[in-house]
Symmetry: C2
C-alpha cells in the first residue's frame, strides 16, 4: 500500500529511526513537538510499518479482548475507539466482548479465556469490588479502565486507570453550591449496582455537607432499570417525573453527560429555561456537550491520557516488564452555558 | 453461569425446542409475538446456549472482520454494536478494523485476510464504486453495509444492505420545499470522495428541480477536510461561515444528524431561532435527534432491519446457502421540531 520506509520518515523529520519508532510506540521519552511532527509525517505519507515484520508478529496470538459494560454509552464508545487505534498501532488485534447489564464481567472474561488465545484483557466499566479475588482467577494480564480497585494486603496487584469519582463529583456539586444552589437534585445509578454512580453520589453528599446543606432524600433520583443506564432516555424520564412531582429544586447533577442531555430536554420541553430556571451539570466531558444548546457544564475525564496509560501498562504486563499498580487521573471542571446563579424564587427554600 | 437449558425455555414458553432455536437464530419463519416471548424468557432466565457445543463451534475459525470507515460516527457505532450483538448470538467473534479516511477499504481487507483466518467480512461505510472488481480479489464472503453496489454483467454478485440515498434525501428536501423554503443550503461531503454524501446531494438537486427551484451554487457547502467527516464540529464550522457570508437562506439540509447538530448550534449561538428563522434537517435517524432542543427532523434509517438482513445474508454466504444479491430498505421521514414554514422575510427572494 505504501513504499515509504521508516528511514524516509526519519529523514523527512530530521530525526533518527529510533525516534520515529519511539513516536509510533507512544514511548514517554520523546519531545512532544518532535512526536507531533513525526506522527504528522506518518499520516501525510501514509506510512505503514514494514509488512513482513508486522505479519510475522501478527502470526503469534496477539489478541486483546476488551470487555465493555455499558456498550451504548458514547463515553465508552469513544474510549473503545481510542483503544482500537492505539492497540492496532502496537500490532495487537482487538476483540470486543459486550458484558450485559446483569452479567459479571469476570465470569464473562473466564469464559472468553477458555475459547480464545488471549494476550490480555481490558475491562471497560463494570462494578466496584471489595477485593480482587475474582480477578486472580484470570490467567492473562488485565487492566481495569474507569473503575478503581482497592489494594488489599497479600493480593495480586490490580492494575487500573481511573479518575477519583468522589472527588470530581464533589468538585462539580461544590461549584453548583457556589452559585447559590441549595436544592440540588441528583440522578444516579442505584447503590446496589456498585458502579461509578454510587461514588458520584458520595461526592454529591460530601459537597452538600461542606456547604452546610442537609441532603433531601426526595431529590435523590435513581435511573430507571427498564431504560439503558446513563442514557439520555433515562435522564429524560426521571426528570419528567421530578418536574411533575412539584418538588422544589434549582439544579440537577446528572451522573453522565448523556443523562444530562435528557435532563435538559425534559426541562426545556416543559417551557423552563436553562440556566435561568434550572442549572444542569453532567459528568464525563463528551464532545457533544459543546454542541448541545445550551452547552453543558461537565467534568472532563482525560480519556486520551487514560487510554494511553492503560495501553502502556497492559503492554508492560504482557512483556513481563515492571508496571505501576494503578493510576488516578485528574479530571477538569468544564463550565459551560447550562449552569448559572440559582433562581432566587426557589433559592430561599433551601 | 446458568443451569437452565433450551428445553426449560421451550417449556416455559409452551413451544418446541426447534422454535426456541429459530428465535435465537433470527429465523424469519417464526411468529413475532412468540419470538418476543422466547427472547424475554431467555433474557430473564439468563439462558446461555449449551457451552460445550458452543465451545466446540468456537474452536473453528469463526471470526468475522468488520471494517469501518468513519469510526467516530455514532450512526456507524450504533450499527457496529448491533452487529456485535447479533453475531455473538450466532457464535461468531467480531474483529473491528478501522479504515482511515484516505485508505481504500478493499486494500485493508486484503491485508487482513493475509493475517487472520476470517470467515467473512462486513464493510461498514466506504466509497461508491463503478464496479465490484476489487472485491472479487477477496477470498472470503463479504457484505457491504450502507453502500449500494451496481451489478454489472459477468461480475460476481455484490451483497449489500442499503437505503436509496438519492430517493431519501429527495424526500426530506422535497418536504422542506413543501414548507415554502426556496433557498435551501446543503452541507455534504465532496463529490470526489464518492460517498453517500454525493448521493444525498443528487437527491437534493432532484427535489429542487421538481419544485422549480434553480440550485444556487453558493448554497452548496462542503464539509471541511481538516475536521472529522459528518461530525458536529464540521456542521458547526461550515454553518458559522455560511452565516458570516451574508448569503440568504431559510433552511439547511445536513447530510448527517451529527452535522445537523453542529448546524443547529451555530444558528442558535448566533441568536437566531429554529425553526422560526431557519429550518434544519438531518439524515440518519439517530436517537439523539429526539433529545436535542429543538428535536431534529431527519431520515430514519431502519438499522435494526438492515443489520439483521446483513447478518442473515453473510451467514448464508458462509454456509454456501442461496442468498439474494442485495437489499434496499425504505427509510422514513421523521418530522420533528427543527423544521417549519419558511421565514417569509427571506422567502420571497427565492
Amino acid at each position: 500500500m505504501s513504499d515509504i520506509t521508516i528511514r524516509d520518515i526519519a529523514k523527512l523529520c530530521g530525526v533518527g529511526v529510533s525516534t520515529v519508532s519511539r513516536a509510533m510506540n507512544d514511548h514517554p521519552d520523546i519531545n512532544p513537538e518532535t512526536k507531533a511532527k513525526i506522527m504528522q509525517a506518518i499520516e501525510q505519507h501514509n506510512y505503514i510499518p514494514n509488512n513482513s515484520a508486522r505479519n510475522l508478529k501478527r502470526s503469534e496470538s496477539n489478541t486483546i479482548a476488551l470487555l465493555m459494560k455499558g456498550i451504548d454509552n458514547p463515553f465508552f464508545q469513544g474510549m473503545f475507539h481510542m483503544f482500537e487505534e492505539m492497540l492496532s498501532r502496537k500490532n495487537y488485534t482487538l476483540i470486543l466482548q459486550k458484558v450485559g447489564f446483569d452479567e459479571d464481567e469476570v465470569n464473562v472474561a473466564l469464559e472468553l479465556e477458555k475459547e480464545k488465545k488471549l494476550k490480555g484483557i481490558i475491562f471497560l466499566g463494570g462494578r466496584i469490588r471489595e477485593n480482587t479475588q475474582d480477578f486472580a482467577l484470570l490467567s492473562v494480564p488485565y487492566i481495569l479502565c474507569t473503575v478503581r480497585q482497592p489494594q488489599l494486603p497479600g493480593e495480586r496487584a490490580a492494575h487500573f486507570v481511573a479518575i477519583d469519582d468522589v472527588k470530581e463529583s464533589f468538585k462539580i456539586v461544590d461549584y453548583l453550591c457556589s452559585l447559590g444552589h441549595r436544592r440540588i437534585a441528583i440522578i444516579t445509578s442505584l447503590q446496589e449496582e456498585r458502579g461509578v454512580g454510587s461514588l458520584r453520589y458520595e461526592g454529591y453528599c460530601k459537597a452538600l455537607e461542606k456547604n452546610g446543606i442537609k441532603p433531601d432524600p426526595g431529590l435523590v433520583c435513581y435511573m430507571k432499570h427498564n431504560l439503558a443506564s446513563f442514557s439520555a432516555e433515562n435522564g429524560y424520564a426521571v426528570t419528567q417525573e421530578l418536574l411533575a412531582s412539584g418538588k422544589k429544586f434549582t439544579a440537577v447533577f446528572a451522573a453522565s453527560d448523556m443523562t444530562a442531555i435528557g435532563v435538559c430536554k425534559a426541562i426545556l420541553e416543559s417551557g423552563n429555561r436553562i440556566p435561568q430556571d434550572y442549572s444542569v451539570a453532567g459528568f464525563d466531558g463528551l464532545n457533544l456537550t459543546h454542541f448541545y444548546h445550551p452547552s453543558i457544564t461537565t467534568i472532563h475525564q482525560p480519556i486520551d491520557e487514560m487510554v494511553k496509560a492503560a495501553v502502556r501498562m497492559l503492554s508492560a504486563l504482557i512483556e513481563g516488564e515492571p508496571c505501576e499498580g494503578g493510576q488516578i487521573f485528574e479530571a477538569r471542571l468544564e463550565i459551560q452555558e447550562s449552569t448559572g446563579p440559582a433562581n432566587s424564587a426557589v433559592r430561599t427554600d433551601g
